[in-house]
Structures are given as C-alpha cells and as structure tokens.
C-alpha cells in the first residue's frame, strides 16, 4: 500500500512537472523567443463592425512580417459605450493598452489628462515618408486645442477612417413616383408627403437613437457657427424641425423605440425612401447603385450653406508613451503600418473616408456619392457629442422623445442639458 502511494505520488509529480513545462512552451518562454514583444491593441473592430475582417487580416500580416511581435487583439464593442468604459478605466487605472483606436474630441480629454498618451508631432516630422501621406485636414481633427498644456497644439492620435453624415436617398423610389431628388427643403417636404401618402416610410429615423437627426438639423438651422457653439439659440430651431417632421408622420410609427440598426434595415429593404445617417451604413446597403448620399437640405430660415455637412475624423490611433519606450517603439511601428497607404486602402474599400492618401479599388456609386459630398463640402463640422459633455448630450438625445410628442419644449430640454454642462465647469 505504501509503495502504491509512493508510485501515485511520483506520477502526480511527473504529470505536474510536464504540465509546467508545457505551460512554458505555450507562453513562449524559451531561449528563442525571449525577446518577443507583445502589443495589446484595443479597437472597436469586433464581430459587429464592418472593418473587423480587414483589421484581423492586417494584424496577421504584420505578425507574419515581424515574427517577434505578437499583437493581442482586445477588440471591445462600441455598442452600449462598452469601449468608452474600457478605455477610460484602463487609462485611469494604469492598465492602458500599447495601442488604442479610440474616439477623439471630448472623449480624448480623460486620456490626455492621464498624461500617458504619446505625442506624434516629432514622429510626423521625423518620418516624412510615412507622414506625408496623411492629409493635414485630417490631422487637424486630432490636434488638441483644449486646456491641457502638455498636449496643446499637438497631435495625440493618428486619424485613419473618416466619416460623414448625410441624407441617404433611395433614388429608384423617387423615380417611381416622379419626385425630384430632395436637394432643397420644398422638394424634401414634397417627398415626405408623397411617400407618406403611398404607404412608404419617408425617413428611416430613430428618435431613440437620434444622434444624426439632432446633429444634421441643428447644423442646417444654425450653420457651422451655430452648430459649433454649445447651446446656441439655433439648436432650439433644429430640434423643433425634428418635432415638425415627427408630427407630419415622416418617421417610422415606432420611431420612439426603434433602434438605429432596424431603421437602417427599413431603408436598405426599400421600406423607407430616405434616411439620415453616417458613412458606416454604406457597407450594409443592399442596393449600392440606386442609392445616393447628399447633404440634408437647409431648413427654412436656416443659416447653413447647402453643402455644409457633419463629418470628420472621429477616431484615431493612440499609443501609450511609456509602453512605446519600454517596447522599443514597436507600438508606434505598428500604428505606422496600420496607417500606411496599402493598409488604408483595404480599410477604405470597406467604407469610410480616407485620412491617408491611397488608391481604393472598385468604389461603389453610393460610396462615390458620399466622397463627392465630402469633397464638395463648404464646411465639415464634428458632431455635437464631440463638443459637449456626454451626460448633456445624452439628455438631449434621450429626452428628444418628450419634445417631438409635445410633452416638453425644445427650449426647456436645452436648458436642462445646459444646466448639466454648466454644473461641471464650476
């Protein structure tokens, strides 16, 4: 019995040691791979995102070219603000990733406040072969102009995929009912009334997720100056236009609870004639030929130029200052690879507006109409949620339902949101 116990003990010991050796083998801790660099990259290229496959392919290619580098893909969904929570808590707790693809504007400030974000200016000057491909206008969106001294006037993120917001039009439906395209307000309203009378949803818009309705109509009402001035009087007019359209029956009947994804499906399935949305919808369209993207028409008395649009470069590549130093500059090298014209072309082929000069093959007519709109734009304004506190914007967005149903005035809602905004500045 004693011998049996000894043998059993020996077996357990051997198994344990074999497992330990196996574990070391799996983690790559051996003589050959001791210099292996691991780079944690957080993006929102998860399964639900149209760029996921391109992203996965890009990191695979990078690892094949650089066998000593392992990219740890920590993609987190943008839905329900999961990415915001992850990135902000990671930076606040000292667990920041080496490379981060994250929003710019108001969302960037907590990251910059931590002082952990790499400043790109020197690298942009040093490596002109790479940086000369990046559009200066795109870099302007990721240049900091706020109160944090360390970053003032500096580039804190490298832009890559830009966006625009506009009016999507199912041209075939307009042709079917002999309607002119909604290039001005009268034609737009005529289209709304005609489609409503024909049982077609005029505008596939969600009041629950009304980001794009709010931004585009406020721009239309106040022009870039009004739109870009927090709580400008023209904001009230913009919200009231949405209310008027809601009362006209321009939106789906369940617009108060309809989610944006379902609204997009209504447009893609031709159940709706128009949709106000962003460039990220292009990939999901079924008909990429009979669909056109154009600026939202100027509302009566609106201050916008007919080609003013919402758009820009709302996300960029951040690198951790300390981790880049610690890892011999590999995080920066990786971002340079991702923002090279070759990789950029692959990303833009899926959708979005390039921040980097590249040749995109096979551009669809609808995507081309989006690029044309962006190219002809008199001005491009960043959305409102990049300019005011998330809490204040959330108040405007989620309480818009009260305004469109007449339970609260636009003035009252904006006053409530401004109160939130002002309470923080004190």
């Amino acid at each position: 019995m004693k011998n049996f116990k000894k043998i059993l003990g020996l077996i357990v010991l051997v198994v344990f040691m074999v497992s330990i050796v196996g574990m070391y083998g799996n983690t790559g801790v051996d003589a050959k791979t001791t210099e292996k660099v691991k780079i944690r990259a957080v993006t929102y290229f998860t399964g639900a995102d149209p760029w996921t496959n391109t992203w996965k392919e890009a990191i695979k290619d990078f690892m094949a070219k650089n066998p000593n580098v392992e990219i740890v893909d920590e993609a987190t969904p943008a839905a329900n603000d999961a990415i915001r929570t992850k990135i902000k808590t990671d930076f606040a707790s000292g667990n920041e990733p080496d490379v981060t693809f994250f929003f710019v504007g108001a969302d960037a400030e907590p990251l910059l406040k931590s002082g952990k974000v790499f400043i790109w200016d020197d690298e942009l000057k040093k490596d002109t072969k790479w940086s000369s491909n990046i559009y200066k206008s795109a870099l302007a969106f990721t240049t900091y102009n706020g109160p944090i001294k360390e970053y003032k006037g500096k580039v804190y993120a490298i832009p890559t995929i830009g966006f625009y917001e506009g009016l999507y039009v199912n041209v075939d439906l307009f042709n079917k009912y002999n309607l002119p395209l909604p290039t001005d307000w009268d034609k737009f309203i005529k289209a709304v009334n005609t489609f409503k009378s024909k049982g077609i949803i005029p505008i596939a818009g969600s009041i629950l997720e009304s980001y794009y309705l709010i931004e585009t109509f406020i721009l239309s009402a106040g022009g870039p100056q009004g739109h870009n001035t927090p709580f400008h009087p023209s904001w009230e007019k913009g919200l009231n236009i949405i209310k008027d359209l809601y009362k006209m029956g321009a939106f789906p009947k369940d617009a108060l609870t309809l989610q944006d994804a379902q609204a997009q499906a209504l447009f893609a399935d031709k159940k709706a004639a128009m949709m106000i949305n962003g460039s990220w919808c292009v990939g999901g369209l079924k008909d990429k030929v009979n669909t056109k993207i154009m600026p939202v028409p100027v509302v009566p008395g609106g201050k916008a130029h007919p080609t003013d649009i919402i758009g820009g470069f709302g996300s960029g590549w951040y690198v951790s200052k300390d981790l880049n130093k610690k890892k011999n500059g590999w995080p920066v090298k990786f971002v340079k690879y991702i923002t090279s014209p070759e990789v950029e072309a692959k990303f833009i082929a899926v959708g979005g507006v390039p921040a980097i000069k590249c040749k995109v093959p096979n551009v669809t007519p609808v995507a081309q109409s989006g690029y044309d709109m962006m190219a002809k734009a008199n001005s491009v304004s960043m959305p409102i949620d990049a300019q005011i506190l998330p809490e204040a914007f959330t108040k405007i967005r989620t309480d818009l339902a009260y305004v469109v149903t007449g339970k609260k005035t636009a003035k009252h809602l904006l006053a409530e949101a401004k109160k939130i905004q002002d309470s923080v500045k004190k």
Binding site: L208, K253, P390, T394, D399, A401
Partner: protein, 290 residues
C-alpha cells in the same frame, strides 16, 4: 481558543469565499457609497467632493421618480403574478401523476435563457415593421399596431420579466410541496377537504416559510431587473419603462457620470435592504414543523 482550534478547518475553508465576497461584493458596495459624494466623470482619477449634491440632484430628477414608481409597480406585479402563477402551477403539477417531469422542465426552461436573449426575442416580437405580433395580426386580416407606447411600455416589459422567472419559483414550490407528508392530505381527505380548500387551508400554511422566501427573492430581484428592459425599450419612451437599473446604466455609461450613478446605486441597495426587511416582517409566521 478551543473553539477556534476545533473549527480551524471550517474557518480555513470559509476564508477564500469570504475573501472573494469581500473583494467583489463588500468593497464595491462601500466604494459606491464613497463615490456617491463626489463629482466623478469619465472614470478618471480626478474626483471632486460635492457632499450630498448627487443626492439632492436625485430628489429633483424626474427620471429617478419615474423609475422608482415603475420599480414599485413591477414589484407588486412580480409578487402577484410571478410568485402567484408559480404557486398555482406548482399546486396543479403536484396534483398530477403523469407528465410531472415534463411540466417541471417546460416551466423551468425560460430561467436558463439569458435575459438579453429574451429581451431581444420580445423586442423583435413587438417591432412594428418586422415584428412577430404584427405579422400575426396582418395574417388574420388585422391592422398593424405600435405595441410599445408611452402607455403600454411598462406592461410590455413586465410580460417577459414575469414570464422568465415563473419557472424559478415554480421549482422551489414544487420541492417544498414534495416535502409535505401525504398522511396530512389523507386525513384532510377523510374530513372531506379537497381542491382549493385543501390548497388554502393545508398546503399554503405548510409551505408558508418557502413562500415568504420567494416573496423576498422576488422583491430583491425587482431591483436587479435590467437586461430585458434595456434591450426592449432602453427605459423609454419618455422614461415610461425606466427602472432604477436602466437609469443607473444610462447615467454611468452613456452619460459618463459615475458619481451621480453611484448615488443611484446606493438608493437601489438601501431600498433593497429596507423592502426585503419589511417583507420578512410582514410575512413572518410561526414555522410549522412536520
């Protein structure tokens, strides 16, 4: 010391669990209470002490009041329908001989489905253009209707919330009923007591302690309702189906105001403790041993 010596293995075995509970329950609990006195946004390292400001804001906040009212309505409905239906089903299933296992499995099944999946299922069922309910309506020649409105939103989220956990209480009641000795029923049968009278005068008093536990669980569970409401309505339209959990999420993660969200979290914890204590007191009866 002698007691400690004798119980050292028990204490040793309990310590890891205590450590886990402390780290993942008690520490966040006290941290939430602490953060509720700060203006803390964007999960940043910068917090400003604001005293009771977040609590004052909470009192003035219409959405919090609406969420509280909805939570109380939900609580009453959950007690009446969730626990009530579960009890009725358990009494019926307990009285049948054939199909006992079948019904037990069928009624318990919704409990194992995630709340998010159930929420999505009902969201799609209620949808106006692609929804199941409207597809049925039009198939029978009816007109499509908007199912989730300001007036109906709370009921529309209550249906899946109640439906999901009926099976949970049903299984608990079934287990309690199986413990009731058969000779009591046989004596009752001799005295001529059958059917509803048997349930009211014999079965329910005998399992009363289990019923009180279920009521307490249902009350506490109401404060945890989140996923189903979040997926179906997001608390809207116009806060019509807002509950404290969804509002806390909206403030903390969409609004990025963690200080105010912590104050709402404290309200949920305090209400949960108070209400479960009251329910325990109200349902207190002398335990019947058999």
């Amino acid at each position: 010391m002698q007691i400690l010596k004798n119980k050292k293995y028990a204490i040793g075995l309990l310590l890891p669990a205590l450590l886990l509970v402390s780290v993942f329950i008690y520490y966040p609990l006290f941290a939430t209470f602490y953060y509720s006195f700060f203006d803390w946004r964007d999960f940043s390292n910068y917090k400003t002490f604001v005293g009771l400001n977040n609590y004052v804001q909470m009192i003035q906040d219409y959405a919090v009041r609406k969420a509280l009212v909805n939570t109380f309505i939900m609580m009453v409905c959950v007690i009446v329908f969730q626990v009530g239906i579960a009890l009725v089903l358990a009494l019926i299933v307990d009285s049948i001989k054939a199909g006992y296992k079948f019904f037990r499995t069928v009624f318990f099944f919704p409990v194992v489905i995630s709340g998010t999946a159930i929420g999505l299922m009902f969201y799609l069922a209620y949808a106006y253009d692609y929804g199941l309910l409207n597809a049925i309506m039009t198939a029978f020649g009816g007109q499509k209707k908007v199912w989730v409105t300001e007036n109906s939103a709370l009921i529309m989220v209550l249906i899946p919330v109640i439906w999901q956990y009926v099976g949970f209480y049903f299984v608990i009641f079934l287990a309690a009923l199986s413990k009731v000795p058969h000779d009591i029923y046989e004596s009752a049968l001799i005295d001529g007591i059958t059917g509803i009278k048997k349930a009211i005068y014999i079965t329910i008093p005998l399992i009363w302690d289990v019923i009180t536990v279920c009521i307490s669980l249902a009350i506490v569970g109401t404060f945890k309702v989140f996923d189903i409401v979040y997926v179906i309505t997001g608390g809207g339209p116009m806060d019509a189906s807002q509950v404290l959990g969804t509002y806390l999420y909206k403030i903390a993660f969409t609004g990025q105001n963690q200080g105010y969200a912590s104050a709402i979290g404290v309200l949920i914890i305090v209400l949960g403790i108070i209400l479960s204590t009251i329910s325990n007191k109200l349902t207190e009866r002398e335990t019947i041993t058999y």
